[in-house]
């Protein structure tokens, strides 16, 4: 449990010192951003495809658009090497897009994991606390990190698998 409390603290520590986007009254903006549109047809939402950030996280939004599963990419897991410790967020933690939701540690380096979307953490992959190495085995599947109930739009660059592969190859 201690580690869960610590992530909230970690996030606070980091966000206080790191650059924060100016605080915006999110609720009001959302009202404006979602004008009531009369829909003439009901369409099935297209299957949402897994997206990647420039910082090697992936985000998979559920078909109903309500929850996002977050993790680190295969590329990131390989680049990190053997993961010895994973810091998971606390369930119910409210996060903003760009906030840290945890960290992965390998060879004495701790890398923050950021969420590209804001919301509330609803589930964490506790199995990783016992077996951090699980993230090396299947980072984009069994090794997911957290699920977030989405509040607002994802921020920052999100890439498709193809775009992300090209991005990592140019690095």
């Amino acid at each position: 449990m201690a580690s869960r409390f610590s992530v909230a603290r970690a996030a606070r520590q980091l966000t206080s010192s790191a650059i924060r986007r100016p605080f915006a009254p999110i609720t009001c903006q959302r009202w404006q951003a979602t004008p009531a549109q009369a829909r003439l047809f009901t369409v099935t939402a297209p299957a949402l495809e897994k997206k990647y950030t420039e910082d090697h996280e992936w985000i998979d939004i559920s078909a109903d658009g309500k929850t996002a599963t977050l993790g680190i990419s295969d590329y990131a897991a390989k680049a990190l090497g053997d993961v010895v410790y994973i810091e998971l967020p606390e369930v119910d933690l409210e996060v903003g897009a760009g906030d840290a939701i945890g960290a992965v540690e390998s060879v004495k380096s701790a890398s923050d994991i950021l969420t590209p979307v804001g919301g509330k953490v609803v589930e964490v992959n506790s199995a990783l606390e016992e077996k951090p190495g699980g993230i090396n085995k299947d980072p984009e599947g069994e090794g997911w990190i957290a699920k977030v109930e989405i509040d607002g739009e994802p921020e920052g660059t999100l890439m498709t698998k193809e775009e992300y592969t090209a991005f990592t190859e140019e690095a």
Binding site: S3, A79, Y85, V107, S109, A110
Partner: protein, 238 residues
């Protein structure tokens, strides 16, 4: 001409003083990430010597009990700080070179793993400059034998921006290490330049040597020395 900006704190300082400069630099790097139009800062390296302080690593945050902290504080002779870096509890104090490179790994085409390796190679080369043969072992850090560690390592990354770094013992009072299991390794000892027979070297001169080694390994042409005040002014002006 690409330079590595080297900032050296000229006197022994509290851990928090270097931490503040480090945080401001990291924040400045993060602020220049797209879609920002701010120019990316040049790579920086901070060198310093601290008042006695024990720092724990990220996975120990919240897990070092009050009793343990009291013990580490040694009746007020040392501080205790929870750090966000990788690695476990270690000691920093007078006679030890602490170095924090603040760089964007992506700009240098490095992965976290290759970066740690670069820091280690720089340490080995620095030791060699002073006639000390150092090696890497199965444990991270840099060693003069399988059991004697001369430099410890612990880094943090956020969006590929590095912070924290290395601690190299020049003439550190080893009493501070004897009290703890440094970096979680039982049965290992800590050594210093002095214990290896290299006496009279200052933290500053070894810091300069290490900055040169890191610059070379990052493919930078030159190390440019700036004062703490100059860097603070640069950060203030954006």
């Amino acid at each position: 001409m690409q330079s590595l900006i080297h900032v050296h704190f000229p006197s022994i300082i509290p851990y928090a003083t270097a931490a503040r400069l480090q945080e401001s630099l990291v924040a400045r790097f993060l602020a220049s990430k797209p879609p920002s139009s701010l120019a990316s800062p040049p790579p920086h390296i901070i060198t310093a010597e601290f008042n006695p302080v024990y720092t724990s690593g990220r996975r120990e945050v919240g897990n070092v009990s009050q009793d343990q902290q009291n013990f580490l504080r040694a009746n007020g002779r040392a501080d205790f700080v929870e750090a966000m870096r990788g690695g476990q509890t270690t000691f920093h104090g007078p006679g030890q070179l602490v170095t924090y490179p603040i760089i964007d790994l992506r700009a240098h085409k490095l992965t976290p793993r290759s970066y740690v390796c670069l820091l280690e190679k720089g340490l080995i080369a620095t030791c060699a400059k002073y006639g000390i043969k150092a090696i890497t072992t199965e444990n991270t850090g840099v060693w003069t034998s399988q059991d004697d560690k001369i430099a410890a390592l612990g880094v943090h990354m956020r969006r590929n921006i590095t912070s924290h770094g290395i601690a190299l013992n020049i003439n550190t009072d080893l009493w501070w290490f004897d009290r703890i299991v440094a970096c979680g390794l039982e049965g290992k000892k800590t050594t210093t330049f002095e214990k290896q027979g290299v006496k009279g070297e200052s933290v500053e001169s070894v810091g300069n040597a290490y900055a040169e080694e890191i610059a070379e390994r990052l493919g930078l042409d030159v190390v440019e020395r700036r004062s703490v005040e100059e860097v603070e002014a640069y950060l203030k002006d954006g």
